[in-house]
C-alpha cells in the first residue's frame, strides 16, 4: 500500500479517482486499498459531503478505521484506512452526516473515538450490556413549539415486526419530527465472527437479516473468494444469480401486498401473499429451504437443479406474472388506494443523493445506482436488464419501482437459465492464506457491502457488513415530516428497512 503525501487540511475535497490513481493498484475484488493520512481522510470525508463520491461503509478493524467509497461515474471503488491514534480518528460525520450512525455504532462496539462528532449519544449500547458501565438514559432530540405532543411507539410494535423505538412529535395529526432509536436486536455479529472458521461465519452471514439471506451469503462468499483467490465455477455463479433474483421477487411481491394492506386493502395482501408462498415453496423444493438459507456458500452453491428444476422456475415465473398483473391493475384502478400513496412520504432527492440511498428508496427518487449495473459482478455481467427510476419519491413511486423490478428480475432469471451450462456448482477451497476481500452486491432493498479479513488458519479475523438500511432509515425520518401519523405505516412499509441488518 502507498501512503499519500501530506495534504493541507484546508485543501479542497479530494476526489476518489485521484486518490486511487495515487495508490496505483486495484485489487482483485475491484477495490483499491489506500492508506490515508489525516489530511486525506478529512479531504475524502468532505469530498463525500460535496458529492464527489459516495460513502459506502465505515468500520473499525485491527486498530484502523476503514472507509469504503465509490464513484459509479468514474467506475472506481476504494477502501481507505487510517491508523487510530490513541483510539481516536477525525470524525467523518462532522463533515458528512450519513456517517454519524456508523461512527456512533463503532464507538459503542470498539471504543474508537470519532473526534469532533456532532452527536455524542450512544447507538447500539443501550446501557444494559453485562460488564459495561451504565450511562444515563437516552435523550431524544428536543422539539420546541406550541401544541406539540409526543407519541412513543415500540420497541415491541403492534404487528409481527422487528423491534425498534419510534418517537413521534406531532402537532395534532401532523408529524413535526420522527426520531428512530434502534439497536434493540444487536446480536454481536462481528464479535461472534471473530476467530470463526469460514463455514461458521457463512452461517452467521446468512442470518444477518433473514429477508436478505441470499444477498448476504452472496456478498460474504464474494468477499471470502476475493480474499483467498477462490474461483467459482460458471454454473455456480449463474445459480447464485437465479437465487438472488428469486429472493428479490418474493420480497417485492410481499412488500406490494403489505403496503396495500396498510392502506386497508387486505384483498391485495392476500393475493400477493399467495404469490409469495408459491415462490417460497418452489425455492424449498429446488434449493432445500424456503428462504434458501445456507444455499450460497464460498466457492459456489450447495444444490444443483436439473432440467425439470429449471422448468419449474420458468413455470413459476409465468404464474407470478399472471397473478401479479391482476394485482397491478387492481392497484392502479383503486382511487382510495392511490389517494393514500400519491404524494405520501416524499424522500427529498437531495437527501437521497447525500445519503447515497440505494434500492427502491433511491431509485424512486431519481438515483439510478444499482450495484448489479454499476459494478457488474458475475453473473450480472452477462445479462441485460433495466434499472427503473422515478422522480416522485413518494410511496407510489416506491411501489412502482418494485413492480418494474419484478419484471426485470423475471427477465434476468430467464436469461440466466438460458445460459446454464453443465459443470460443477462449487469449487474446492484453495490453500488458506491470510488475506482481505470486500464485495458489494444488490440485495432486494439496496446495495449491501461486506468486508472480511482472513487469518492464517482460514479463520475470520474480522467481518463487517453494511446493510442498505443504514442510509435509508434516516431518510424515513425525513420522509414522514409533514405527513399525518396514520400514514406512517405506509411510509414505513414502502421503505421496509431492516432492523436486524442494522443492529447486527
Amino acid at each position: 500500500m502507498i501512503t499519500l503525501n501530506e495534504r493541507g487540511a484546508d485543501t479542497d475535497p479530494v476526489a476518489l479517482a485521484d486518490a486511487i490513481r495515487a495508490a496505483l493498484q486495484v485489487r482483485a475484488d475491484g477495490f483499491a486499498r489506500i492508506e490515508a493520512d489525516t489530511a486525506l481522510w478529512i479531504g475524502l470525508a468532505r469530498g463525500c459531503a460535496a458529492g464527489w463520491q459516495d460513502l459506502g461503509a465505515l468500520w473499525i478493524d485491527d486498530h484502523h478505521v476503514r472507509m469504503a467509497l465509490w464513484d459509479a461515474r468514474e467506475n472506481c471503488r476504494a477502501i481507505v484506512s487510517l491508523t487510530l491514534k490513541a483510539g481516536a480518528y477525525p470524525s467523518v460525520g462532522l463533515h458528512h452526516a450519513p456517517a454519524l450512525r456508523l461512527e456512533r455504532a463503532m464507538r459503542d462496539l470498539y471504543g474508537a473515538i470519532p473526534e469532533g462528532i456532532p452527536d455524542e449519544r450512544r447507538w447500539l449500547d443501550h446501557g444494559v450490556w453485562p460488564g459495561r458501565e451504565h450511562e444515563p438514559g437516552y435523550h431524544f432530540l428536543a422539539v420546541d413549539g406550541n401544541g406539540l405532543h409526543q407519541i412513543p411507539v415500540g420497541p415491541v410494535h403492534a404487528g409481527i415486526i422487528e423491534p425498534g423505538h419510534f418517537r413521534f412529535t406531532a402537532n395534532g395529526e401532523t408529524v413535526a419530527r420522527l426520531e428512530a432509536r434502534l439497536g434493540y436486536v444487536h446480536k454481536g455479529v462481528e464479535a461472534l465472527a471473530q476467530g470463526a472458521p469460514v463455514e461458521k461465519a457463512a452461517r452467521l452471514a446468512a442470518r444477518m437479516s433473514g429477508d436478505s439471506t441470499v444477498a448476504y451469503s452472496f456478498a460474504f462468499s464474494h468477499a471470502v473468494e476475493a480474499a483467498l483467490g477462490w474461483d467459482v465455477p460458471p454454473r455456480g455463479q449463474i445459480l447464485r444469480g437465479v437465487m438472488a433474483e428469486l429472493e428479490r421477487l418474493s420480497h417485492h411481491v410481499g412488500d406490494v401486498g403489505g403496503i396495500c394492506n396498510d392502506a386497508a386493502v387486505a384483498a391485495l395482501l392476500a393475493r400477493c401473499s399467495l404469490i409469495r408462498e408459491d415462490i417460497l415453496r418452489t425455492q424449498d423444493a429446488l434449493f432445500g429451504h424456503r428462504m434458501m438459507m445456507d444455499a450460497v456458500v464460498p466457492g459456489g452453491v450447495v444444490r444443483d437443479i436439473d432440467a425439470s428444476g429449471a422448468a419449474a422456475i420458468l413455470a413459476l415465473l409465468e404464474r407470478i406474472e399472471t397473478g401479479f398483473h391482476r394485482v397491478i391493475r387492481a392497484y392502479d384502478q383503486s382511487p382510495s388506494l392511490q389517494n393514500r400513496t400519491h404524494g405520501t412520504g416524499i424522500a427529498e432527492p437531495d437527501f437521497i443523493r447525500q445519503f447515497a440511498a440505494g434500492g427502491f428508496v433511491g431509485r424512486a427518487g431519481g438515483r439510478a445506482f444499482d450495484a448489479r449495473r454499476a459494478f457488474a459482478y458475475p453473473p450480472y455481467n452477462a445479462v441485460a436488464f433495466k434499472v427503473p427510476t422515478r422522480e416522485e419519491s413518494d410511496v407510489d413511486a416506491r411501489i412502482w419501482i418494485r413492480i418494474e423490478e419484478i419484471a426485470e428480475s423475471a427477465a434476468i432469471i430467464r436469461q440466466l437459465l438460458g445460459r446454464l451450462e453443465d459443470g460443477p456448482i462449487r469449487a474446492a477451497p484453495p490453500p488458506f492464506q491470510p488475506g482481505a476481500g470486500a464485495a458489494l452486491v444488490e440485495a432486494f432493498r439496496g446495495d449491501l457491502f461486506v468486508a472480511v479479513r482472513i487469518e492464517d488458519e482460514g479463520r475470520i479475523a474480522h467481518m463487517h457488513a453494511r446493510d442498505a438500511s443504514w442510509f435509508q432509515w434516516p431518510l424515513l425520518e425525513t420522509a414522514i415530516k409533514g405527513n399525518i401519523v396514520a400514514d406512517f405505516p405506509l411510509c414505513n412499509k414502502s421503505f421496509n428497512c431492516s432492523y436486524s441488518g442494522v443492529d447486527l
Partner: protein, 175 residues
C-alpha cells in the same frame, strides 16, 4: 379489483387442510398446563408476537401463517396488537440484552393465565447467536416457556403444528 373477486369465486379457496398437531407436544402440554387452560380459553388463543433478537426470518414465516394457504385464524388463533389482549406470547430470537427488558415487560403486561412459545432455534437457545456476548440466550432464561418450536426458521407448518398442540393441550388438560 373485480377480476380478483371473480377469480376467487371461481377458483375456490386456496386454503390447505390443517396439519395434525404435534402429538408428543400435545401430551406434554396437557400435563404442563394442568387445569389452567380449559375453563378460561375454550379453543381460541390470542397471540402476541415478540421479536427478542431474531434475524427476521422467523417473523417472515410467522407472517406467512396469516396467508390464505395456512389461514391461521380458522383455528381460533389470532395475532393481537397488545400483550393486554394476549393469551400467548410467541417469542423469537436469541434475546438480545437490549430486548430483555422489553420481553420482561411484555410478559408482565400479559394477563394470567398465559403461555409462552419459543419459536425458532435462537429462541430455543441453539441458534447461531446463542454464544454471543450481546445475547442472554434462550427465551427460557428470561421468562418461563411452555412450548418450543425449533427450526431456522420454523416453517409455517411447523409453527401451525406447535400452536395447534397448544390449543389441544389446553383443551385436553386433566381436571
Amino acid at each position: 379489483m373485480h377480476i380478483l373477486l371473480l377469480d376467487a369465486l371461481l377458483k375456490g379457496p386456496a386454503t390447505e387442510r390443517a396439519p395434525s398437531p404435534d402429538e408428543a407436544a400435545v401430551a406434554d402440554l396437557a400435563r404442563a398446563l394442568g387445569t389452567r387452560a380449559r375453563a378460561r380459553l375454550g379453543r381460541s388463543l390470542a397471540i402476541r408476537e415478540v421479536d427478542a433478537g431474531s434475524c427476521n426470518a422467523c417473523e417472515l414465516e410467522i407472517h406467512a401463517l396469516g396467508n390464505p394457504v395456512y389461514d391461521v385464524e380458522r383455528f381460533g388463533l389470532k395475532f393481537v396488537a397488545s400483550p393486554r389482549h394476549a393469551d400467548v406470547l410467541l417469542v423469537t430470537g436469541a434475546v438480545s440484552w437490549n430486548m430483555r427488558e422489553g420481553l420482561e415487560r411484555t410478559y408482565a403486561a400479559t394477563p394470567d393465565p398465559k403461555w409462552v412459545v419459543a419459536a425458532g432455534d435462537c429462541a430455543a437457545g441453539c441458534g447461531v447467536y446463542s454464544e454471543s456476548h450481546a445475547c442472554a440466550g434462550a427465551v427460557a432464561k428470561i421468562v418461563p416457556v411452555d412450548l418450543v418450536i425449533p427450526g431456522c426458521p420454523p416453517t409455517p407448518t411447523d409453527l401451525l403444528k406447535g400452536l395447534l398442540a397448544l390449543v389441544e393441550g389446553a383443551t385436553r388438560s386433566p381436571r
